[in-house]
C-alpha cells in the first residue's frame, strides 16, 4: 500500500544516460529476495561499487554527498528498458526517488513505477534539454512536482505541464491501488467467467480423444 502522492520540492539527480536498463537499476543477483525490503543497496549497484565493495572513484552520481536526500531523477530517453522486475521501482522508491523525468520510459517499467509511488514524468525533447541545462548551470536548482496540477514548477517561476494517465493519477493521489479497484469488479468478472468457460485446465491434461 502506498501513501497518497502529495506535491513536493526537491533538487535534481542528473543521470544523462539513454536506455538505462533494469539490469543496471537492479542487477539480477539481487532478485533472489522474497520481500521488497532492503533493495536501496542494490540500486545501480554495479555503477556505484567496485568489485571489492568500495565506492567507485569518482563516485557515481547517487553517492555524491550533495545528492543525498534528492527525490527527482533526471534521465535520458527510454528509461527502464529490459526486464519486468518490479524490483527496479522498489529500489528507486527505497532510495527515496519520487519522480523521474525523461522523454520516454519502457512500458513495463512505467506501469511498475506508477504502482509504487514513483511518478514517471514525460517531457518533450526541448524541455528535457532545458532541464539538463538548468541543472548544469545550477546544480542545486529545485523543482516542485505537483501531480494534482500535472505541473513541474521551475526556479524561474515557469511551469512545465505533463500528461499522466488519469486513472493512474487518481490512484496515486488517493494512495490506493488497482487491486482494490479490481476486487470491486468481481460481480462483472463472475458474469464474464460464466459466459466464457476456461479454455484450459493447467491441473489436468486433456483426456485423449475427449
Amino acid at each position: 500500500m502506498v501513501e497518497p502522492y502529495r506535491a513536493f520540492s526537491s533538487r535534481i539527480i542528473p543521470l544523462p544516460a539513454e536506455n538505462v536498463d533494469t539490469d543496471q537499476i537492479v542487477p539480477a543477483r539481487y532478485l533472489k529476495v522474497t520481500d521488497k525490503e532492503g533493495l536501496a543497496e542494490a540500486l545501480f549497484r554495479d555503477w556505484r561499487f567496485e568489485e571489492d565493495g568500495s565506492l567507485k572513484v569518482p563516485p557515481f552520481v547517487l553517492d555524491r554527498p550533495e545528492m543525498q536526500g534528492r527525490q527527482i531523477l533526471l534521465v535520458g530517453d527510454n528509461f527502464g528498458t529490459g526486464s519486468s522486475r518490479e524490483h527496479a521501482p522498489w529500489a528507486l522508491a527505497a532510495w527515496g526517488i519520487r519522480a523521474i523525468v525523461s522523454t520516454s520510459y519502457a512500458d513495463i517499467f512505467r506501469n511498475n513505477a506508477l504502482k509504487n509511488g514513483v511518478l514517471p514524468i514525460v517531457v518533450d525533447a526541448t524541455t528535457h534539454r532545458r532541464l539538463f541545462e538548468l541543472v548544469e548551470h545550477d546544480p542545486d536548482a529545485e523543482l516542485r512536482v505537483d501531480l494534482a496540477e500535472q505541473g513541474v514548477l521551475l526556479p524561474d517561476g515557469t511551469t512545465i505541464g505533463f500528461d499522466v494517465d488519469p486513472f493512474a493519477k487518481m490512484m496515486l493521489l488517493a494512495g490506493t491501488d488497482e487491486l482494490g479497484y479490481l476486487l470491486g469488479k468481481l460481480p462483472r468478472i463472475e458474469a464474464w467467467e460464466a459466459a466464457h468457460p476456461p479454455r484450459i485446465d493447467t491441473r489436468a491434461a486433456t483426456p485423449a480423444g475427449g
Binding site: Q24, R29, D46, R188, T206, G210
Partner: protein, 481 residues
C-alpha cells in the same frame, strides 16, 4: 466500429477479453493463462495472504522454477541458500494455493516460455501473462502475451484480470526468404537494430509476410520472444496450419470434437485484409545477413560482415555518448571488424534459442568438430523435455564429443543469477536476448547471435560467419525452413 470493419488479430483478442471498461479507466482484461516462476512471484503471494485473498483460478495458473536454479546435475544440492529459499517459497505457495508446479525434478520442468508451448497450454487467441518480459514469446501462437510486474501478478492471482489500456499496433512485414545460414534470430536482431530498443514502445508488433509464414513455430517463438528488446511488450503472429500442427496432440491441447471446434475458432483470428496498423515497417529477408551485436543493448547490432560503428560518425550527442560508453565497456575499437573477435565463452540456450530445433542446428554445425582451445561452450536446454529429446536423438553426445558442457535446463547464463556467469572482462557469444552491461555476469561482455553463428564461433574461437561452414545449405535445413 462495426462488426464488418476489418480488424487486426490484436483488436480481435482484445475485444474477446474485455470484462468491463469504466469511463476514464483502463479496461478490465480477462487473462486466460498466468505463468509464474520463483523470482517475481513471492511478494505477490505475500500480498494475497496479507489481504486474505485466494488464487481465483488455479486451473488457469501454472508454475515452474527456472531463473535461479542451478544447471548442475539435479542430484547435487542447491548451494545458494537465498535461491533455495526462493524455490521452497514457490513450492509452498503453489501447494497452499492449489497451483500446479513443474518444479525441479519434474519431467516437465523448464524455462517458463519453453514449457507453456511444450505442454500445449499456449494456444491461439488467448491472453497470457507472466512476471517476465519475455512472455512475448507466446505471441508466436497468435496469443496476446506480455510481461507484467509483481503487483500485476498479485492482481491476476486474485482476480484473473488486469487493468490495461488498449495497445497500439505495429506491423512488421518481412518479405522474401532467408538465405541459408540466416535465421529467425537474425530477423529480430535486424529489426531491433533498425528501430532501436525503444522503437516499439506502446505498441504490439504483428509479424507478417512471406518470410514469417515460412518459419517453424520454434523459429517464430525466437522472433516474438525478443519483441520486448524492440520496446514492444507483445509481439504476435496470426495462427495458421503450422501453428495448429504444432499444438495438436500436446498434453493440454483440445482433442476430438473440441479440437475441431478450437481450430474453427482459431481460423477466425488472423488479421483481416484491409485492417490498419498504427505503424508499419518492411524488412527484406533475402537481404539479411547473420546479425551480431557489438554493444550493450540489443539495438546495437550489425550484419556480421560489417564493422563496429564509430562514435564520430554520429551527429546526435546522446547517441554518440551511448556508443562511446558501450565500446569502452566492450573494449572494442570503432571501425574494427566484428568477425575474428575472440570469445571466451559460447552460451547456447535461453527462452530465445534453447529449444530442440536450436540445439539440433548447433549440434549439426559441431558434428565431428571440436570447440576451439580455451573456449568454453555451455549448452543449456530450455526444458527437461528438450534435454531428454536431445539425449535421445544423440545431440547431447555430439555436443559432448565436441567438448561442450552439457547442462540441466534453466535460464542459466542468460540472466546469470544462478552462478552460471562470465568472469569480469570475458567475452561471450550468446544465443540469449540481452547484452546489457553485466547481464551475463558482472563485467562480462556479450555478443548476441543465432545458434548457428554461436556454434560456428565455438569451433573457431572467434566470431565466425556461419555461412562459411561447410555444407551450410544442408545444415540450415536441419532447423526446419
Amino acid at each position: 466500429m462495426t462488426a464488418h470493419e476489418p480488424r487486426t488479430i490484436v483488436e480481435k483478442i482484445w475485444a474477446d477479453h474485455v470484462v468491463a471498461e469504466d469511463e476514464g479507466a483502463p479496461a478490465v482484461l480477462a487473462i486466460d493463462l498466468h505463468l509464474i516462476h520463483e523470482v517475481t512471484s513471492p511478494q505477490a503471494f505475500t500480498g494475497l495472504r496479507r489481504r486474505g485473498l485466494t488464487v481465483r483460478r488455479p486451473g488457469q495458473t501454472v508454475a515452474t522454477a527456472d531463473h535461479s536454479i542451478p544447471t548442475t546435475p539435479r542430484s547435487l544440492p542447491m548451494l545458494d541458500a537465498q535461491a533455495a529459499a526462493q524455490i521452497s517459497q514457490l513450492e509452498r505457495n503453489c501447494a497452499d494455493f492449489g497451483i500446479p508446479l513443474h518444479g525441479i525434478g519434474s519431467p516437465s520442468q523448464g524455462i517458463v516460455h519453453v514449457i507453456g508451448p511444450q505442454l500445449g497450454l499456449t494456444q491461439p487467441g488467448m491472453t497470457i501473462v507472466c512476471g517476465d518480459s519475455h512472455t512475448s514469446t507466446h505471441g508466436a501462437f497468435g496469443a496476446l502475451a506480455f510481461g507484467i510486474g509483481t503487483s500485476e501478478v498479485e492482481m491476476v492471482l486474485a482476480t484473473q484480470t488486469l487493468l490495461q489500456r488498449k495497445p497500439r499496433t505495429y506491423e512488421v512485414r518481412v518479405d522474401g526468404r532467408l538465405a541459408p545460414g540466416v535465421s529467425s534470430k537474425d530477423i529480430i536482431l535486424a529489426l531491433i537494430a533498425r528501430i532501436g530498443v525503444g522503437g516499439g514502445t506502446g505498441h504490439v508488433f504483428e509479424y507478417r509476410g512471406e518470410a514469417i509464414r515460412a518459419l517453424t513455430m520454434e523459429q517464430r517463438m525466437t522472433i516474438c520472444n525478443m519483441s520486448i528488446e524492440g520496446g514492444a511488450r507483445a509481439g504476435l503472429i496470426s495462427p495458421d496450419d503450422t501453428t495448429f500442427e504444432y499444438i495438436h496432440g500436446r498434453p493440454h491441447a483440445p482433442s476430438g470434437a473440441a479440437w475441431d471446434a478450437a481450430v474453427a475458432r482459431w481460423r477466425q483470428l488472423p488479421t483481416d485484409d484491409g485492417a490498419t496498423f498504427d505503424r508499419s515497417i518492411t524488412i527484406d529477408a533475402s537481404a539479411l545477413e547473420p546479425m551480431v551485436t557489438y554493444g550493450t543493448n540489443p539495438g546495437m547490432g550489425i550484419p556480421i560482415t560489417s564493422r563496429v560503428p564509430a562514435p564520430d560518425e554520429l551527429s546526435d550527442p546522446a547517441a554518440r555518448r551511448a556508443l562511446e560508453r558501450a565500446l569502452e565497456y566492450m573494449d572494442l575499437r570503432p571501425g574494427q571488424p566484428i568477425l575474428g573477435q575472440k570469445v571466451d565463452v559460447v552460451f547456447i540456450g535461453s527462452c530465445t534459442n534453447g529449444r530442440i530445433s536450436d540445439l539440433r542446428l548447433a549440434a549439426e554445425a559441431l558434428r565431428g568438430r571440436r570447440v576451439a582451445d580455451g573456449v568454453r561452450l555451455m549448452v543449456t536446454p530450455g526444458s527437461d523435455e528438450v534435454k531428454r529429446e536431445a539425449e535421445r536423438e544423440g545431440i547431447a553426445d555430439v555436443f559432448k564429443a565436441a567438448g561442450a558442457d552439457w547442462r540441466e535446463s534453466g535460464c542459466s547464463m542468460c540472466i546469470a543469477m544462478n552462478g552460471d556467469q562470465l568472469q569480469p572482462g570475458q567475452y561471450a557469444i550468446s544465443t540469449s536476448n540481452r547484452n546489457f552491461e553485466g547481464r551475463q555476469g558482472k563485467g562480462g561482455r556479450t555478443f548476441l547471435a543465432s545458434p548457428l553463428t554461436a556454434a560456428a564461433t565455438a569451433i573457431n574461437g572467434v566470431v565466425t560467419d556461419p555461412r562459411t561452414l561447410p555444407g551450410i545449405e544442408n545444415l540450415a535445413a536441419v532447423g526446419g525452413r
